[in-house]
Each structure stands twice: as C-alpha cells, then as structure tokens.
C-alpha cells in the first residue's frame, strides 16, 4: 500500500495511480456490460 500513497511518478491523464486503476477496472465493467448486451440482444 506504501506505493499507492507515495507512488514513483504519475500516470498520464490521471492525477494519481488510484485514478488509473479505477479507469482500468471501470473499463472492464463497461466491457462486461457491452458483452452482456451483445449476447442478450443478438440471441
């Protein structure tokens, strides 16, 4: 957890690593939702 509090450098477009991690996980959630909609709508 130390690295989260005191990260080495910053990711592009985000103020902190926490923001970047949330972006990756949110992207996964949206992708799963997209897959679910495709599966249901095209069934």
């Amino acid at each position: 957890m130390t690295e989260l509090e005191n990260p080495e450098g910053k990711p592009p477009f985000f103020k902190s690593w926490k923001g970047m991690y949330i972006f990756v996980l949110a992207n996964l959630a949206v992708t799963i939702l997209f897959f679910y909609l495709l599966t249901v709508c095209l069934r």
């Binding site: 957890m1 130390t2 690295e3 989260l4 990260p7 080495e8 450098g9 910053k10 990711p11 592009p12 690593w17 970047m20 991690y21 990756v24 996980l25 992207n27 996964l28 992708t31 799963i32 897959f35 679910y36 495709l38 599966t39 709508c41 095209l42 069934r43």
Partner: protein
C-alpha cells in the same frame, strides 16, 4: 503459395529479425543482456507482454474455437485486467526496489534459498516443456496445410528465434515483438475486413452479425455457475484472475518483460495498457472466427478441415464411405444455405414468425451436421487409428489458403510465424535467465566475472533453444505427454502463486511453513485433477488458497509447539 506470398513471408520475417538484431547489437554486460539496461518504455513493455502471451495457437485455434463454439472463450480473460491492477500495486514496486533479475530471487529475500530454488525448478520444468509445445503445435498445422516437412518447419522457427535471442537478449526479444505484434494485428484486421467484404455479396455486416447471434455464436457472457464448465463468467473472473496473477506476477517469461522497464511508472503502464487492450484484441480474433463461420453458411465447407487426414482416408479401403459423407455434406450445406437465406429475408421483412421458423430449421440442420461430423470422425479413425479427430485448428488456415488474395496469404502465414517466434523468444530468454541467475550463479558458480555470466546466459539460451527444438521434433511421438504438458501449467501455477502471495501479504508465514504448505497444496491439487471433473482454471484458485491456509495453520502450530 505464389511467388508474391513467398516474398511477403520471407521479407517480413527477414526485416523483423534483421532490424531486431541490428537495433540491439553488442550487449556488453549481463544487465544489458537480461534486463535491457532497464530502458524499456511502456508501449514496448505492453506490446512485449501481449506478444509473449499470444502464441501462434492464439491466431490459429481461437478463430477455429469461435467457428465451432462461439465467442464464450473470451471469458477466460475477464480476470486479467484486475490482475494487472493488483500486480502493478504489489509486485512491480517490490521487484524494482530489490532490483531482481528474476521473480524467484525475491523469494530468497523473503523466505530462503530452498523456496527460491523450488519455484525456479517448477518454472523451468513446466515452462521448458510447454515452450516445446508452443513450437510444435503451429509447426504441425503449418506443415499439414503447406505440405512442408515438419522437422524443417520446427528447425526454421526455433533456429531463427535462438539466433536473435542469443544475439540481443531481452532487448532483442522486446524490439522484435513490437514489429511482430504490429504484423499480427495488421494481418488479422486485413483478414477480418476481407471476410466481411466477401460476405457483402450475400448479406450486410449487420445481417452477418445477426445471423451469427441467432446461431448461438455471439455467446460472450454466461452467468450460470458450473465448476465443470470451462468458459463462464465466474470461472473467467475468479479462475482467470488467479491464472493471470500467477502468469504475469510469477512466470519469468512475463516478469522479465516489465522488470526491464525504465521506471516503475513505465512497467505499471505497460501492464495496465495490456489490461485495457487484451479483451478488445481477443474480441477481434474471436469475431473473425465467427465471420468465417457465417462465410461458410454461404460457401461450401469441406467435410473435414484437416485435409491430410482426409487424404489418408481417400487412400484407404474407406474411400467410398468418405465420398458418401461428402455428398451428404454438400446436400446439408445447400439446405443450410437456403435456411440462412430465409433467416436473412425474415430480418429484412421484420417477420418474427418467419425468423423463429428459420431458427428452428437451422437448429435441426445443426443437429444433422453434428451427427455427420461424428460419422466422418468415425470413418477417419477406421482409416487411421491415430487420426487427429479435432479439425477446428485447421479452419482459419484453410480459409486463408483458399479464400485470401495473393500477397495476403503470405502476410497471414507471416502472422503465424511471428506469433510462434515472439512467444518462444520470451520463454527462451526466461528459461536462460532463470537457469543462469537462480541455479548457476546462485548455487553452482558464485564468484565468476560479469563477462562469464553474460557468456553463460548466451550458452544457456543456445542449450534451451536446442532442447526446445529436439522436444518439438520428438513431440509427434509423445502424444500423451503433450496432453499432460498442456494441463501441467495450470496444476503448478496456483501453488507458485500461493508462495508469492504468502510472501507479499502474509509476513506471519515463515520459510519452513510455506515450503511444507506448497508441497501439501500441490498434492491436493494433483489429487483433485485425477479424481474430480473440476475445470482446470479452478486449480489456480485451489492451489493458491491451500498454500495460504496450510501456511497459516503450519506456522501457528510451529509457534505453539
């Protein structure tokens, strides 16, 4: 293949290898050779990670898998982005802080030498054997389709990889992988566009997708919970998470990719962008397979896609039986084409009753097709008891050879070679570095010079290259062993991950407890494999959890006694 295809194939491979060797010439010390001077940018790391994971089988088998069973396979990667976040938080800063050459060095720092050596040896055995299969599997398919000698194909792939890996080490592997991923993705996108273009004579893109959906091929997510079902949401998100944590966090072939990053930031970004790009990449590859499926609803497919097995049957007393089955296949195709046309017509008119009727008709025909396939397999087996009865790996390559224009065939064969070489190069590089750093330098020769260890790393790369080549050539004689090797990775990954997670998060567990816990957990995982029908993805979870639980119990007992 035409002369143009040969030119594209040879030109692409020569450029990638030549550029990689030129760009990384003259490694003067072991840090340059094994860690690329810690100079890699995040995009190189990301592409290198993707190229390491995507072997030739990814580009050959996955479209075939989608052709046969739809897109459900994608669920195996659902846990990957979560694993990328966890590894970025935990493993990346730790490996960077300790300046390790291999992941297993960290285990000695946290536990002891025997735990480090155990993990390194487990890696060398399982990865050494599976790397041989990484070369053998595409070699046998390329040889069957192109009519090349299997041994020559294997030697060409393995020889080229060994030459540039020995020459430039980790940097050469990463630099060549950038071009290899670019060629692979360009080739696959071109193939996808050509399939869609060829389909446009009969139906629009939207109609193609709708047909695939109605025929059960767009089955991206399945929320039903079933331990024996390999591809569902739960096995993908939980089992896939543990598999990805093991593979990216503890397997040296992947760890070597991101510890060569210029900084923690570059390493993390490489991993996180892999987490963002992996699912779209797999989606594209699977979608191409589904479009090939729709294509074969309008164009006559062969009765069996592996033509070598068909030729064997034609030269046997069962030739007439196969001819009869081919005629039935032609008849079935005509009926299927007609039913598909009616389905598309019902989309255009918006007649839901007609849509349901066509769907029912297509389901009946699918059942007949399944029975026909079984008859074909039975006849092929009578003609050749050792016949390979699964033909899905041959679907996409057959499509390439028969339907793609001149030049593109060469490009797509180059895609398969590139994928075979990129994943093999990472594995070869990791095997050599683990042998040199964790075994040779740590236990056998501790006081030699930097130059000596650099030369030793090069020698181990050559020796592993020769081993992989021999194993791949002999693999055709060892069919049962191949199946065992394919499963073996999953049987060991959970235990190795458990050791690493105990090291990262459980300071309470000490070396003796983790060692005994790892041995016990491995015994339980093997027992589960041989006595239950649990899908292999779950072994990653079981092995890992057991190491932690046993470790806590043994440590507590040890402290109290």
């Amino acid at each position: 293949m035409s002369i143009w295809d040969w030119l594209v194939l040879c030109g692409t491979l020569a450029f990638i290898v030549g550029y990689g060797m030129w760009k990384t010439r003259g490694s003067k010390n072991i840090e340059t050779y094994l860690m690329a001077d810690k100079s890699m940018k995040w995009w190189t790391i990301c592409l290198s990670i993707m190229a390491t994971q995507a072997s030739a089988i990814t580009f050959l088998s996955i479209p075939g898998q989608a052709f046969a069973d739809g897109m459900g396979f994608i669920q195996i990667y659902l846990g990957l982005p979560i694993a990328m976040v966890i590894i970025s938080i935990t493993a990346v800063p730790l490996y960077a802080k300790l300046k390790v050459y291999t992941a297993y060095e960290y285990l000695e720092n946290r536990f002891d030498l025997k735990t480090r050596s155990l993990a390194a040896l487990l890696f060398l055995v399982s990865r050494g054997l599976s790397a041989g299969i990484t070369i053998y599997a595409p070699s046998i398919i390329l040889s069957a389709i192109l009519g090349w000698n299997l041994t020559v194909t294997t030697i060409v792939i393995c020889g080229i990889v060994t030459i540039y890996t020995v020459s430039g080490g980790t940097k050469a592997v990463s630099v060549t992988q950038q071009q290899q991923v670019a060629v692979a993705m360009t080739g696959m996108i071109v193939a996808g566009l050509i399939v869609i273009y060829k389909l446009s004579a009969d139906l629009s893109f939207t109609e193609s997708v709708k047909v695939a959906g109605k025929m059960g091929k767009i089955n991206l997510v399945d929320f039903s919970f079933d331990l024996s079902n390999r591809y569902n949401f739960w096995s993908g998100i939980i089992g896939g998470l543990f598999l990805s944590l093991s593979y990216f966090g503890t397997d040296q072939s992947q760890v070597a990719r991101y510890i060569s990053g210029e900084s923690v930031t570059e390493s993390r970004l490489g991993l996180l962008f892999n987490g963002l790009l992996k699912l779209p990449m797999q989606f594209i590859i699977l979608f191409i397979g589904v479009m090939v499926f729709v294509f074969y609803q309008y164009h006559q497919p062969p009765v069996f896609f592996n033509k070598t097995e068909l030729a064997t049957a034609y030269n046997s007393p069962y030739a007439s039986e196969i001819k009869d089955l081919e005629q039935k296949n032609e008849l079935l195709f005509k009926q299927r084409k007609e039913a598909t046309k009616q389905l598309v017509e019902s989309f255009r008119t918006g007649d839901k009753g007609a849509t349901e009727q066509s769907e029912g008709r297509l389901k009946d025909l699918k059942a007949q097709e399944t029975n026909l396939k079984k008859s074909v397999q039975s006849t092929l087996q009578k003609a050749n008891p050792k016949a390979e009865l699964k033909d899905t790996d041959y679907v996409f390559l057959t499509f390439i050879m028969e339907q793609m224009p001149v030049g593109i065939v060469g490009l797509l064969i180059a895609v398969i070679f590139c994928a075979a070489m990129s994943s093999t190069a990472s594995q070869l590089n990791a095997l050599a570095s683990t042998t040199c750093i964790d075994i040779y330098k740590r236990s056998l020769n501790k006081t030699a010079s930097e130059q000596h260890y650099l030369n030793a790393s090069r020698l181990f790369t050559i020796l592993w290259g020769v081993f992989l080549m021999i194993f791949a050539i002999l693999a055709s004689q060892l069919e049962n062993l191949i199946q065992a090797v394919n499963i073996m990775g999953s049987l060991f990954y959970g235990t190795i991950l458990g050791i690493f997670l105990a090291a990262f998060y459980f300071n309470y567990i000490r070396s003796q407890a983790v060692f005994i816990a790892a041995v016990l957990a491995e015994v339980v995982v093997l027992a589960c494999h041989f006595t239950t029908t649990i899908s292999f993805l779950w072994f990653n979870v079981i092995g890992c959890v057991l190491v932690i639980v046993f470790g806590l119990v043994i440590e507590t007992a040890h402290r109290k006694l």
